[in-house]
Amino acid sequence: MKLSEIAHTRSGDKGDTVNIGVIAYRAEDYPVLVREVTAERVKAHFGELVKGNVVRYELPNLGALNFLLEEALGGGGTLSLRVDAQGKTFGAALLRMEIEA
C-alpha cells in the first residue's frame, strides 16, 4: 500500500536541507512507519533530487518521524533555481512510497 493510507506529512526548508515530518493517522500505525520508512528508502525515493545524506529522527509521542534531506534544494533559499525552492511539496511526494502493512 501507499504511505498516504496511514500517514500525512508536512515539509519545509532550512537552507539547502529539506525536512519532512511523517505523521501516523493512528497511533497503532507508528511502528509500521518506524519499520518501513527508513532513511535509506527515503533517499532512494527522491533519487537525484537529494544529493546529500538523509537523517531520521523519531517522535513516538506524536506518532511521527522527522527526516532531514541534505543538499536537496539546489543551494537553498535565494540561490535555488527550483520552483519549489522551499521544499514545500517534498512531503506530498513521499506519500507515494510503497510500504508493507
Binding site: 526548508d13 533530487l49 509521542n61 506524536l62 535565494t78 527550483r82 519549489d84
Partner: protein
C-alpha cells in the same frame, strides 16, 4: 491565563488576519512575525537608500488601523517588525498612532561591528559549509544576532502598548508575554521550553489552524475566513491552541502535529537563545472543538552561543519559461532545453548552474513524480545562476527566439525576457553570547 495570538507568519502574510484577531474575540497579546532569513538584507538595502527606512513597512499602517481598539482593550502588540531600524519603525508607529506607548529592543544589529568582531578572533564560520566569514567580508549586506524573549519581556515591562524588536527569534514573540505575565526566570527551563513550543506552533500563522494542511483538506471549513491561532497560556507551562469562535479553518491535534514538525531539525534539541526545547516530551490532547491542549514539555538550559544571521551579495540569477502543447509536449520542451544549452555553450558563457525542470511533469517531485503520458501541455523552466551579470543577462535573450526558431507550438512568452535578479545569500554563524548586549528604549 493569557491569550496570545499570532496574526502574521511572515512579511507578506494576509493583511486582514491581525485586524480580525483584534475584532473577532478576546486576546491579550498580538504577536506578529515579519522576518525571514533574507528579509534583513532587503530592509538593509532600503535603509542604505533612505535612513528613515529599513523596517517592515506594512507594520505602522496596521497599528494605525487597530490603535483605538488595542488601547481601549489593553491589547499589547509584540512584533519583530523593526528590521535594521527599529527606532525609525517606532517613530512611524507613533506618527500614525500618537496615543500609544512604543518600546524598541536594540542590540541585535552587528552590521557595524563585523570588522571588529573578526579582528578579535570571532571567525563566525558558515554553519553549513565551515568557511570563515572573512572570505565574504566585502560582500556582507546585513548581520544580526538572534536575540531571545527576555529582552522583549523587558520591553513589555515598560508598559508599552507596542513592542518592536529587530532580529529576535520568531518563538520569542509568544514566549516574551508569558515571561512578562507569569514572571518566569531564566533557570526555569521546562517553562521556557513550553513557551518556545507554543511560539513554534503559532509562528507560521494559519499553518496550525488548517492552512497548508493535508488532513482531509477539502473538509476544512470556510478557508476564506480562516481564523489565525491563539494560545491560551497558563502559568504552569501548559497551554491550549485555539482560534476565535465562528472563524474558518480547523484546530485539531493532527493539524498541530503537522506544524510541530514544520522546519524541525533534531526534535530533542530545538535550540533558541532562551532554552533548548525537547519536542519528544510534548503531549497533545483534543479537549473540545478547535481546542488542543499541550502539556508535558521539558527543556534544557540556554546555549553559550547565539546564532547570527548574515546576508551577503552572491551574484545573479534569471529564470525563464516557455510552454509547449500536445502532441509530444514533453519531447518538444526537452528539445528546447537542449537547444538553449547548446547556444549558451557556443556563446562561451559560463554559469555556476543551469537548471531545467518541466512544469506539469516533474518540477516539484523530480524522480518521485507521478508519470503522465503525453500531457496536454508542458512548461519548460530554465534557470541560470552565476557571478557574471552579463552572462546571466545574455541568457535571458535565449528563450523567446525559440518560438520561431525551435520546436513547434512554443508559446507563453507574453512577458518577454525574464528579469535578472540579484542573489542575496544567507550565512548562518554562531557568536559568543557575551558579545551581545541588548537594551530597551521607549520612543516618545
Amino acid at each position: 491565563m493569557i491569550r496570545i495570538a499570532n496574526g502574521q507568519g511572515f512579511w507578506g502574510d494576509w493583511l486582514e488576519a491581525p485586524v480580525r484577531l483584534v475584532e473577532q474575540g478576546p486576546i491579550d497579546y498580538l504577536a506578529l512575525d515579519y522576518l525571514a532569513e533574507v528579509t534583513m538584507s532587503i530592509v538593509q538595502k532600503q535603509k542604505l537608500a533612505d535612513p528613515a527606512l529599513g523596517y517592515a513597512r506594512d507594520f505602522p499602517p496596521l497599528i494605525g488601523r487597530i490603535a483605538k481598539q488595542i488601547r481601549e482593550r489593553g491589547i499589547k502588540v509584540v512584533a519583530n517588525a523593526g528590521g535594521v531600524n527599529p527606532v525609525a519603525c517606532a517613530k512611524e508607529v507613533r506618527r500614525l498612532a500618537p496615543d500609544l506607548k512604543v518600546a524598541v529592543v536594540l542590540g541585535d544589529d552587528l552590521y557595524d561591528r563585523v570588522g571588529d568582531l573578526l579582528e578579535r578572533g570571532h571567525a563566525m564560520k558558515n554553519m553549513d559549509t565551515g568557511e570563515p566569514l572573512a572570505s565574504i567580508r566585502e560582500r556582507i549586506l546585513s548581520a544580526n544576532a538572534y536575540i531571545g524573549a527576555f529582552p522583549v519581556a523587558e520591553a513589555l515591562a515598560t508598559g508599552a502598548d507596542v513592542v518592536i524588536a529587530g532580529r529576535c527569534t520568531d518563538t520569542a514573540l509568544a514566549l516574551a508575554p508569558m515571561i512578562h505575565a507569569f514572571g518566569w526566570r531564566e533557570d526555569q527551563h521546562d517553562l521556557l521550553a513550553a513557551g518556545t513550543i507554543a511560539g513554534h506552533i503559532i509562528e507560521c500563522g494559519a499553518q496550525c489552524t488548517g492552512g497548508n494542511c493535508q488532513v482531509d483538506w477539502p473538509s476544512i471549513p470556510d478557508m476564506a475566513n480562516i481564523g489565525y491561532p491563539i494560545v491560551e497560556a497558563e502559568p504552569d507551562g501548559t497551554f491550549v491552541v485555539t482560534k476565535h469562535a465562528g472563524t474558518g479553518g480547523r484546530v485539531h491535534s493532527d493539524v498541530v502535529k503537522e506544524q510541530l514538525l514544520y522546519e524541525l531539525g533534531d526534535p530533542k534539541s530545538y535550540i533558541t537563545p532562551d532554552c533548548v526545547a525537547d519536542f519528544t516530551s510534548i503531549r497533545l490532547e483534543d479537549v473540545g472543538p478547535d481546542r488542543v491542549r499541550v502539556s508535558g514539555i521539558r527543556g534544557g538550559g540556554r546555549p553559550p552561543m547565539l546564532k547570527v544571521s548574515i546576508s551577503y551579495a552572491w551574484g545573479y540569477k534569471a529564470i525563464g519559461t516557455l510552454v509547449y502543447s500536445w502532441p509530444q509536449a514533453l519531447e518538444k520542451a526537452r528539445a528546447a532545453d537542449a537547444i538553449v544549452r547548446e547556444r549558451l555553450r557556443a556563446l562561451g558563457l559560463r554559469f555556476d548552474e543551469i537548471y531545467t525542470e518541466y512544469f506539469g511533469v516533474n518540477a516539484c517531485h523530480g524522480p518521485a513524480a507521478v508519470t503522465v503520458a503525453d500531457p496536454a501541455e508542458v512548461q519548460v523552466r530554465i534557470g541560470v545562476r552565476g557571478a557574471d551579470r552579463k552572462a546571466v543577462d545574455r541568457f535571458t535573450r535565449e528563450l523567446v527566439p525559440l518560438v520561431l526558431n525551435g520546436p513547434p507550438t512554443g508559446t507563453g512568452f507574453g512577458d518577454g525576457r525574464p528579469p535578472v535578479r540579484e542573489v542575496v545569500a544567507y550565512w548562518p554563524a554562531l557568536l559568543d553570547r557575551s558579545e551581545i548586549t541588548t537594551h530597551v528604549e521607549v520612543v516618545e
